[in-house]
């Protein structure tokens, strides 16, 4: 049973980002701030760092496909983006694993990389035409800060959860 908990949590986060978070999002309340939640990707990244690169690649592609179909008008962008950045930033060695601060920084770097990759793709495909300065302070920076804070909050408990689930396989 325990191995279905992680996919279930990831699926819950996928739904949460589009429904509950959007109802309470600050721009829904008339603020200029736009927060883009990447909760699911953060958990995929933490999985990759703590349990190994193959896990994050697998979950990144599977949930990328779901994300593409449910939320995006163009297929393939999130599938490739989640898979690629989850693989690239899942540095799973003992130095990173033992230090939650380094883990959180790495996850934040992955979120930043993903967001700029998406911005580039959307510009390329003509889905958005917003210049960088128009969205940097209102959308990108606040989103990075929120996701970074969440990664810092989750790094320790998620690590403890995976250790309990897999047994103590920390080197």
């Amino acid at each position: 049973m325990t191995r279905f908990i992680l996919p279930a949590v990831l699926f819950f986060l996928l739904v949460f980002e589009g429904t509950v978070f959007q109802v309470f999002a600050p721009d829904n309340r008339g603020a200029d701030l736009e927060l883009v939640p990447r909760f699911m990707f953060i958990l995929i990244m933490l999985t990759g760092i703590i349990r190994g690169r193959s896990y994050s690649l697998f979950y990144g592609i599977i949930f990328g496909i779901l994300y593409d179909i449910v939320y995006s008008p163009v297929l393939g962008i999130y599938t490739f983006g989640f898979g690629f950045f989850a693989y690239l930033f899942s540095v799973s060695n003992s130095y990173v694993k033992r230090r939650p601060s380094v883990t959180a920084l790495l996850v934040t770097a992955a979120v930043i990389g993903l967001e700029y990759y998406l911005y580039g793709m959307m510009l390329l495909l003509g889905i958005t035409a917003l210049p960088h300065e128009a969205i940097f302070t209102s959308r990108l920076l606040p989103s990075f800060i929120m996701n970074g804070l969440l990664a810092a909050l989750l790094a320790v408990p998620v690590r403890a959860w995976f250790i309990r689930m897999d047994g103590a396989d920390m080197d």
């Binding site: 996928l14 939320y71 690629f84």
Partner: protein, 321 residues
């Protein structure tokens, strides 16, 4: 540790990139309906989403209503003053409506762009990345939703149906910057009508852009922009917003107006899907029913011995004829 990208991995990466480009090309092609795996996934996720969104709306509405309690007295005063006007307007409306009906009858008008039918839908998700302005609703092909139908709130037009699955569909808001997001619109002043297109939003102000207006026409601020019904899918006269600014484009060939939307594109929970030309379909339905009614009247004639008691009134009538 193994090298970061070995040769084999590079090849896999390249294959993935080619696959990505192919997939994007496939999904960007026009006139593409959703394939059945996409429909299946959208419907199943949509079911879960509607379970999640309902309590979220309940909580947010509760918070809102507590906030609104503070303004109740002022609002009540204002509404009361409007109420006096309402009675006068109501009588005027019925009068005008009757007059309009008579005139239409006299002119023998059958095709009315204003006729439409409405379906109520709940918003079940909004795309979390703000690159796409898409929302999901809980109605799909099984409820009669089709691509490109207009979607409104009580305040005005918000967008059109983009993709349809069996039990859910996605709506592209007017503020989406996709190059294909274009709607035929018009603005009316006392003496003339301006036609143009609604095309995305302005980068700086965030207002909607009303483009391709003839340069010779003088556009005034404060004019109300609505759908023109010329595109063939949307009905006529759905309010879009109010013109706040006008500029001439860089070549001086046409004008672009900035439109402040009437509807709130952010705080969406319930929307309405508009189907055009409902009166005509209902007319056809009536015709069908009449034809069906004809059938049992003919039957007793052909076979009078079988069941004459079933339609006692029909027999003397036909006898008279």
């Amino acid at each position: 540790m193994s090298p970061f990208f070995s040769n084999r991995r590079l090849i896999v990466l390249l294959v993935c990139l080619i696959f990505l480009v192919g997939l994007i090309g496939y999904s960007l092609s026009d006139q593409r309906g959703l394939s059945w795996p996409e429909q299946f996934i959208q419907d199943s996720v949509g079911t879960v989403q509607s379970v999640f969104s309902r309590p979220a709306y309940m909580i947010s509405n509760a918070v809102d209503s507590v906030n609104e309690l503070r303004n109740v007295y002022e609002e009540n005063q204002m509404l009361r003053s409007h109420l006096d006007e309402y009675a006068a307007l109501q009588s005027e409306l019925t009068q005008l409506q009757r007059r309009n009906d008579e005139l239409e009858e006299a002119m023998d008008v059958q095709d009315n762009l204003l006729d439409y039918s409405v379906r109520n839908a709940t918003v079940i998700h909004r795309s979390p990345d703000r690159w796409n302005e898409l929302i999901g609703i809980n109605l799909g092909a099984q409820h009669g939703i089709e691509q490109d139908m207009a979607v409104i709130t009580s305040q005005g037009l918000i967008g059109k149906i983009r993709d349809v699955s069996q039990f859910s569909s996605s709506v592209q808001l007017l503020s989406d910057q996709d190059a294909n997001n274009r709607i035929s619109a018009m603005a009316e002043s006392d003496d003339e009508t301006i036609y143009g297109f609604m095309e995305g939003i302005d980068d700086e102000t965030g207002h909607l852009r009303f483009t391709k207006i003839d340069v010779d026409i003088e556009v005034e601020e404060g004019m109300i922009v609505s759908t023109s019904g010329l595109g063939g899918v949307f009905p006529d006269g759905l309010t879009i917003g109010e013109i706040v600014d006008v500029t001439t484009d860089e070549y001086g060939l046409s004008q672009t107006a900035l439109v402040e939307p009437a509807a709130d594109y952010y705080h969406l929970d319930y929307v309405m899907v508009i189907e055009r030309g409902a009166s005509q379909t209902s007319l056809f339905d009536e015709l069908d029913e009449e034809e069906e009614d004809m059938v049992p009247q003919i039957d007793p004639e052909a076979d009078p011995d079988e069941d004459p008691a079933a339609d006692p009134e029909a027999v003397p009538e036909e006898g008279v004829e």
